[in-house]
């Protein structure tokens, strides 16, 4: 299949917009991706023709919405090759998923003195829920460090694991350094001691093929809005054997079987974890986004984005005035950098006015900044619809920024 960048760009209406009279260059894909027309249209269609609450209705619209919602679940299962679609729980996003897991897993399996292992390069979403759990349960958080290249020191994992270790939770692709972590290896090491592993795939699901059965991960999370889908929807994948054993997170409609004031029994998996009216339109939109990804081909996308990354890295280095943070050999199209002698905030404001949307700051990964002893970086995160021309323009701009600001 050929990769038709013009066609792809055409599928994303926002890319045609101008800001401050400049053609928009959207390099903030790590924060959220833009939406292709099929996603926009299905949401529109739902709101205009079909909207109806799911699961409990006995009427046509409700049947239709329920079927589409459950089909969305199947699509997600298929996309990550889950064994069963009941292993897919719809949540509000990656953050919602990790919090759900931290609570449910924590209630059942974590007690005083136990340990959870994460890495030094986690997004706050994969730090704070575990810290909160540890505080509640008097458990301990342990950290796999990374080196100055941004490479995870995986070899330290086996020494970090003790008989008190209950879970290992690892970011697949760092949203700041771009590092693609060797999660298969990590999962193997943890499994040797029978410790379950959660993968934060928020930055990887849209970039490379994730096969939960092949990885053998126990849990995996990602967000709809970072994979060309709508906001307010995300996924918690869990192996059936785990989900069956975890207590529910939120209580409410749909997640129950029989409710009495004396005793309430819960619905089966996955419904047990989906309390209340779920964001079914979000789920349906998300499935459409995954279909869109499939129509382009994840392999094509990954290849193209990697090419962009290599190109951008080379070009940034050629400016001679840029320091890149994160230089792992296995890297996705996320580039964190600073222009020498220029404050990131100044750079961000200038980029903005020149039409370039980058992110500036800690990228919700303050521990990464602490590692390098910096306040933050400028981050350009590239997607399938970005181009080399856009990268060229960014690099030109860098010179301009430098000239003005120092």
């Amino acid at each position: 299949m050929s990769f038709d960048i013009d066609k792809i760009r055409n599928d994303f209406p926002v890319l045609g917009e101008k800001v401050y009279n400049k053609q928009l260059i959207y390099f903030d894909n790590g924060a959220t991706t833009q939406k292709p027309s099929p996603v926009i249209e299905i949401i529109n269609k739902y709101h205009s023709k079909l909207n109806s609450s799911i699961h409990r209705g006995v009427h046509f619209l409700s049947d239709q919405a329920t079927n589409d919602y459950e089909d969305a679940r199947k699509k997600v299962a298929e996309f990550i090759n889950a064994e069963k679609s009941s292993e897919i729980i719809f949540t509000s996003g990656s953050t919602g998923s990790i919090n759900m897991l931290a609570f449910s897993f924590g209630e059942k399996f974590v007690s005083e003195g136990d340990e959870i292992i994460i890495t030094e390069m986690e997004h706050h979403a994969n730090i704070v829920p575990w810290q909160m759990l540890c505080e509640r349960k008097k458990a301990k958080l342990k950290i796999i460090p990374f080196n100055d290249e941004g490479i995870l020191q995986t070899e330290s994992l086996s020494t970090l694991i003790t008989e008190k270790t209950k879970l290992v939770s690892v970011i697949h692709i760092s949203n700041t350094l771009g590092t693609i972590n060797p999660i298969k290896n990590i999962i193997e090491i943890a499994h040797r001691q029978s410790i379950p592993v959660m993968i934060d795939a928020a930055q990887s699901i849209q970039h490379l093929s994730v096969d939960v059965q092949e990885l053998d991960c126990d849990f995996l999370v990602f967000s709809g809005h970072k994979a060309y889908g709508p906001t307010g929807i995300g996924i918690l994948y869990g192996k059936e054997k785990w989900l069956e054993n975890l207590p529910p997170y939120q209580g409410g409609g749909d997640m129950v079987d029989i409710v009495t004031f004396e005793n309430t029994t819960y619905n089966e998996v996955p419904f047990k974890f989906e309390a209340g009216t779920t964001n079914y339109i979000g789920a349906i939109g998300m499935a459409e986004a995954l279909r869109y990804i499939e129509s382009i081909g994840l392999e094509n996308i990954g290849k193209y984005e990697t090419e962009l990354m290599h190109y951008a890295t080379k070009k940034l280095k050629e400016t001679g005035i840029v320091t890149i943070y994160g230089n792992a050999p296995e890297k996705a199209s996320i580039l964190s950098f600073l222009i020498d002698g220029v404050h990131m905030a100044d750079a961000g404001m200038m980029f903005d006015k020149l039409g370039i949307a980058v992110r500036v700051g800690t990228h919700c990964a303050q521990t990464v900044m602490q590692h390098f002893n910096i306040d933050g970086t400028v981050r350009a995160s590239m997607s399938m619809y970005n181009t080399k021309e856009e990268i060229d323009y960014l690099c030109q701009t860098i010179h301009q920024v430098k000239a003005m600001l120092s």
Binding site: I54, H55, R56, G57, V58, S62, D63, T66, N67, E70, D257
Partner: protein, 143 residues
């Protein structure tokens, strides 16, 4: 006796006669009246297939290598659909039931009743019948 495929075709033919939903429902209501009454001793929670909106009781017996199904529901249209299911699936060998592809449900427009929305026990009922068949089949092979 006609096989599962043939009975399904029969049913589909019967339903093509109807112009609208009310006629179809009328027919299901008629069928519900013919459903052989399930033995009272089976109308207990042990035999209940839980559904949100209507109750379905189901019993399966094994005679002469065949599974005999009896059932009931507190809702009439559900009972009519059950009557169809029994017509197709009762008095069959476990293997026949295990392999049965119940296309007729879709073809006569009742597929909805098997969607996860319709928590009326029909989907669970079919699952339960298939489970019985698997169990009797395993037993048979053991003997």
């Amino acid at each position: 006796m006609t096989n599962i495929q043939e009975v399904q075709r029969e049913i589909v033919n019967e339903f093509t006669l109807f112009d609208d939903w009310m006629e179809r429902y009328n027919y299901l209501i008629e069928l519900s009246k013919d459903l052989p009454v399930i033995d009272a001793k089976y109308k207990k929670n042990d035999y209940l297939i839980r559904g949100c909106q209507s109750k379905v009781w189901l019993n399966a017996e094994y005679k002469d290598h065949k599974i005999i199904l009896t059932a009931d529901s507190d809702a009439i249209i559900t009972k009519g659909i059950i009557a169809l299911l029994i017509r197709v699936l009762s008095n069959r060998t476990p293997q026949e039931i295990i392999n049965a592809d119940l296309k007729f449900i879709d073809e006569i427009g009742l597929k909805q009743n098997l969607s996860p929305t319709r928590a009326n026990g029909l989907l669970s009922m079919i699952k339960q019948i298939k489970l019985y068949a698997i169990a009797y089949d395993a037993k048979e092979k053991k003997n």
